[in-house]
Symmetry: C2
Subunit: 297 residues, 2 copies
């Protein structure tokens, strides 16, 4: 809301939390706890509705969408895309839904965790699966640009596989590392913890409910990533126990980090508005690591 309002958009909102609504109102925003009223206003204005709730809260919200604003323009900010699309198909099947995932955030939550510049230069994935409403796709892209983000088109399932590897697995490995580090009875171990432990466990400090909602909602893709990690860790354990050598693990990790560090800046691509660039062509832009930055004439 803060980012869109800063960009000159008319914004209003609703929250299940009276505290969040009160904090937003104290900052001058039109936020209620009466979701039906906010949705009815969206239906009347044909506004773009942005759902920013944890995955487990989604069915209840979608039922209200279906009851009050059944054919609204709809997107979301949930960190998985297949599970959300499944929920929308089940609970609000008439909504003109295009999934979104603005990849920005902090390890805290609530109104005070956000800012108007949170999305500046962030990747904002916009789902580009065949069959969606290309006019709403353009709406979501324009919202992302208004917030300062780069639009990454991606199929929902390809998005979920990617975030399993570069977001959800990092949260789980951070949790494992933090638990191992804190397992001892003495205070020497944690007193010696420095940069590698601090950085390796940073996201273990995220609100557990948010991590659970995010990771558990991406079960199939995450299982594949966890199995990859387990296989590599098990092979490393075997090598350490038998030959004492860790070179394969350490060098593969170094190569991976170097590949990440060498990731070129995304090339900004302009596409034609409203379906005149095919969804398949949009997905290819994301697959090669590029972003959509505007409309071509």
């Amino acid at each position: 809301m803060r980012a869109a309002e800063k960009a000159g958009r008319t914004v209003w909102g609703t929250s299940a939390s009276a505290e969040t609504a009160a904090e937003a109102r104290a900052d001058g925003f039109d936020v209620t706890t009466d979701t039906d009223t906010a949705l009815r206003r969206a239906a009347e204005a044909d506004a773009l509705v942005v759902l920013a709730v944890p995955l487990p809260a989604l069915p209840g919200v979608l039922r209200r969408v279906d009851a009050v604003a059944p054919t609204c323009r709809l997107t979301d900010a949930v960190s998985v895309k297949v599970a959300v699309a499944d929920d929308v198909a089940r609970f609000a099947p008439r909504a003109r839904y295009v999934g979104g995932h603005p990849m920005a955030g902090t390890s805290t939550s609530g109104w005070s965790a956000g800012t108007a510049v949170l999305f500046v230069d962030a990747a904002w994935v916009v789902a580009a699966d065949d069959g969606l409403d290309t006019d709403v796709w353009a709406d979501v892209a324009e919202l992302a640009w208004a917030c300062g983000a780069r639009v990454v088109p991606a199929a929902a399932d390809e998005h979920d596989l990617a975030v399993a590897r570069i977001s959800h697995l990092p949260h789980l490995l951070a949790a494992v590392l933090a638990a191992v580090g804190a397992a001892g009875d003495d205070d020497l171990t944690l007193a010696l913890a420095a940069g590698s432990f601090r950085d390796g466990t940073r996201v273990a400090g995220t609100n557990p409910d948010l991590v659970l909602a995010m990771c558990e909602g991406n079960r199939d893709a995450l299982l594949a990533a966890v199995d990859d990690a387990l296989g590599r860790l098990g092979a490393m354990r075997g090598a350490l126990a038998s030959t004492g050598g860790l070179a394969a693990t350490v060098r593969a990790g170094y190569a991976g980090r170097q590949r990440w560090a060498a990731t070129r800046d995304p090339q900004g691509v302009q596409v034609r508005r409203g379906g005149r660039t095919s969804l398949a062509a949009l997905r290819e832009i994301g697959r090669r690591g590029d972003v959509v930055t505007g409309w071509s004439s």
Copy 2:
């Protein structure tokens, strides 16, 4: 050298690398590649010799110590302590050795990776096993203080178990995560990588040879830490596949990170110089998370 010289110490050095020696000389330091000459001068001055080489290079250097300065005051900056003590006992058994581990560094190496303030506020573990020379212990502690560090007394084996959990395991998990993240053929995955991947893989960018020397030298303690991590990751995999639940993993990680974040500032303790505070009493200071900051009168 830079930190000790800044503190007013007389310093000289030797490096197997002509490039490192030349860079140090260019900065005004008395650094040679003639190790025997540097060691002979140390023997004549009864200077404290600080070995700062990767573990695999240690036997060769210790052979020169034994040949040229066999009874010198000796410490080191290697990140494991049991393996170094074993090497000293084997290759330079007459040296008056007290192990050290200044816990500071960067993910780069060579002369340019260091600074005169690298050790300020860092923990500098000084081994406090029974039987060592308490006069040399005091020398090493005074060097650490001169460099701005906090002295953490610890038994060599307790140090190694601790660093396996909070330093070596973080490097290996970072390597696994970086390898998993870079495993795909597309460029979408790494293009979406953000804070959790960047921080979780940071130390995977460390020079692999340094990581290998550090981790492989701590094999027994590291195996225990890896097995702990594997057990937790395997249990998580099972829970995700069966019930889809990750709560146990995520909440244990959150609790571990919270315990780390709540680690109190170490209390500075003054002890009596030269063995009049027992080594056992020193070790207890480190076990409870405190540090030695000076001599009591």
